[in-house]
Symmetry: C2
Subunit: 294 residues, 2 copies
C-alpha cells in the first residue's frame, strides 16, 4: 500500500453507497482501517462477513474515535439525528463528507452540530442501482461516473482537496458546484424522473386485477424502464422529496404544463405539434451519447 | 429449407420492424421469396444491399402480385393511404397482417379497402428499439418477446393460425386478444410511458443553456433512462397518439391525478403518504422480474 489518504475512515450507514465506497477505498488502498457505525445488526454483520469493513459497531463514540474521515451514507432525513449522535465525538481536524442526493438540507441539518476544527465537505456521487443494502455494493460503482462536491463558503481548501482526491481515487470524475445549484440540477435530472416513475408505476398498480397482469406481461413496450427506477429505496426517496421540496415542486409545475400541452394536442388532433415536440427530444439523446453518458 | 409457411411475403414499409421480421423470416426459412414495397429509395436500396429482401419496388401492383402474406410495417397514420394503394392488387386467399401499436384504428382504416377473399389478421409484436430504418433491424428482435394477435370477429381461423405460426416461427410468444382491449393495455404499458418520457425530456430541453448542459452531464441520475424512450421515431409516435386518443387521454387523466396527489404530499410534508406509495411500487418490479420480462 502506498501512503493512504486517511488512516481510518468511518462509514455512518453501510448501505449500497457506503459499502460500495468502502470496497473501493479498500481496493485502491485509500485508508488503512475501515469502520462502520450502523444501527442495523444485519447490516453490520453482513459488512463484516463480506470483509467490507474491519470493524462495525452501533456505538457512536466507539466508531468515530480516531476517524480522519467520516462518510455519511444515511438517508438525508436522518442527518440531524446522526449529527447529534456523532458530533460530540468528532476529533479536531477530522473531515466529514456525505453522499446525499440533496445538499442544502444536509448542510442545514449537519453544520450546527459540528465542533470547531471539524471540516464538512458535502458530496454526491451520481451513481447507484435500484438495489439496497451492503450485500449489493461493489467497488466499481463509481468508476467513470461523476461526483458533485459542493464545498461550504469559507470551508478549508485542504479538506475539500482530500475529499476530491478520495473520489478521484475510486475512479470518479469530480465537479465542484454551489449546493443550491446542485439541488436545482438534480431536481430535474433525478428527482423529477424518480417521482414520475413512482407515479406511473403506482397508476398501473391501481388497475383492476386482470389488466394489471397484462401490464406486467407486456411491460417491455416502455413501462418496464420505469419500474426499475420505481424500485429504488422508499425511505431514501421520501427523504429526498421532503428535503428538496421547493426545487422539486418547481419542476413538477413545469412538467405538468408541458404534459397538459401535449394532452391538448392529442385531444384536438394537432399532429404537427406532436411531431415537432417528438423531433426535438431526439437531440438531447444524441447530446447524451456524445457526452459518453449513455 | 423445409416447406416454408409462405411462398412470397411482401413487406410494405421496410423500417426497423419490417426489416427485422424479414431477416427473421429468412433466417428461419419461413418464405421462399421476400419482397418490399417502400416509397423511400434509400430504404429500398439499403434493404437490397443488406440482402434483407430479394426484390424492392415503389410500385404497389408489382410488389403485391403473388404475395401470400402482406405485412404492413408503416406508421399507423398511413394505413388508409396504404390500403388504397395495395387493396386493388391483393389476390384472393392472400393474408394481410400488420405490426402497428394500435389496433382499432388500423382495422377501421384497412378493412373497407380489402377485396373479398382476403384475410386480415392484425398483429403487434412487443419489441423494438429507439432506432429506425432497415439498417438497424436484426433477426433476433422478436425472440422471447410477446406478439399480440387480435383476430377480427368472423375472421378465418386458418389465416389466424398462419400468422400465429409466423410469429412463433421467429421465436415470439403469441397472445390472442380483443383489439379494443389491446388498445387499452398498450395505452398504459407503452403509450403513456412514451408520452411521459417525451414530456420530461422536452421540459429539460426548454431549460436555459448552462442548466441544459448540466442535465446532459448528470443524466445518469435517472433522466437518461427517459431519453432513450424519447428518441423513438417521431412520426410513428405522433400516429399512435392520434389513433389511440380515447384510451391515451383516459390514462393521462389517471396519471395526472396520481401525480397531483404525490405533489400535494411533498408540499405538505406528508412523509407517510410518500413512503406507502414508494413501497407499493416495488412489488410491480418484482412481479416483472418473476415474469421474466425484466
Amino acid at each position: 500500500m502506498t501512503q493512504p489518504l486517511f488512516e481510518t475512515i468511518c462509514f455512518v450507514g453501510i448501505g449500497l453507497i457506503g459499502s460500495s465506497l468502502a470496497r473501493a477505498v479498500r481496493k485502491h488502498g485509500l485508508a488503512r482501517r475501515i469502520v462502520t457505525l450502523d444501527l442495523s445488526e444485519t447490516a453490520r454483520r453482513t459488512a463484516l462477513e463480506l470483509g467490507v469493513v474491519d470493524y462495525a459497531t452501533a456505538d457512536a463514540a466507539d466508531a468515530i474515535k480516531g476517524a480522519g474521515l467520516v462518510v455519511l451514507g444515511t438517508p438525508v432525513g436522518a442527518t440531524e439525528e446522526v449529527a447529534r449522535a456523532i458530533g460530540p465525538h468528532l476529533e479536531a481536524g477530522a473531515i466529514v463528507t456525505d453522499v446525499g442526493s440533496v445538499k442544502l438540507a444536509v448542510i442545514r441539518d449537519l453544520v450546527p452540530h459540528l465542533p470547531d476544527g471539524v471540516h464538512f465537505v458535502p458530496g454526491h456521487p451520481i451513481a447507484g442501482t435500484e438495489h439496497s443494502g451492503p450485500e449489493n455494493g461493489f467497488a466499481e460503482l463509481f468508476e467513470g461516473r461523476w461526483c458533485v462536491v459542493t464545498p461550504l463558503s469559507g470551508g478549508e481548501q485542504a479538506a475539500t482537496d482530500k475529499v476530491i482526491a478520495l473520489w478521484r481515487g475510486v475512479g470518479s470524475m469530480v465537479e465542484v458546484m454551489d449546493p443550491h445549484h446542485h439541488d436545482q440540477v438534480l431536481a430535474i435530472t433525478s428527482h423529477l424522473p424518480h417521482l414520475i416513475a413512482y407515479t406511473i408505476v403506482g397508476t398501473a398498480n391501481d388497475l383492476e386485477g386482470h389488466l394489471q397482469q397484462e401490464v406486467i406481461k407486456f411491460s417491455a413496450s416502455g413501462f418496464r424502464d420505469f419500474t426499475r427506477i420505481a424500485a429504488s429505496d422508499p425511505v431514501m426517496w421520501r427523504d429526498i422529496f421532503l428535503n428538496n421540496r421547493e426545487a422539486v415542486l418547481e419542476v413538477i409545475q413545469r412538467f405538468t404544463e408541458d404534459l397538459t400541452a401535449l394532452q391538448r394536442a392529442i385531444r384536438w388532433g394537432e399532429g404537427e405539434v406532436l411531431l415537432k415536440h417528438f423531433s426535438e427530444t431526439r437531440a438531447i439523446r444524441r447530446a447524451i451519447i456524445d457526452a459518453k453518458q449513455a
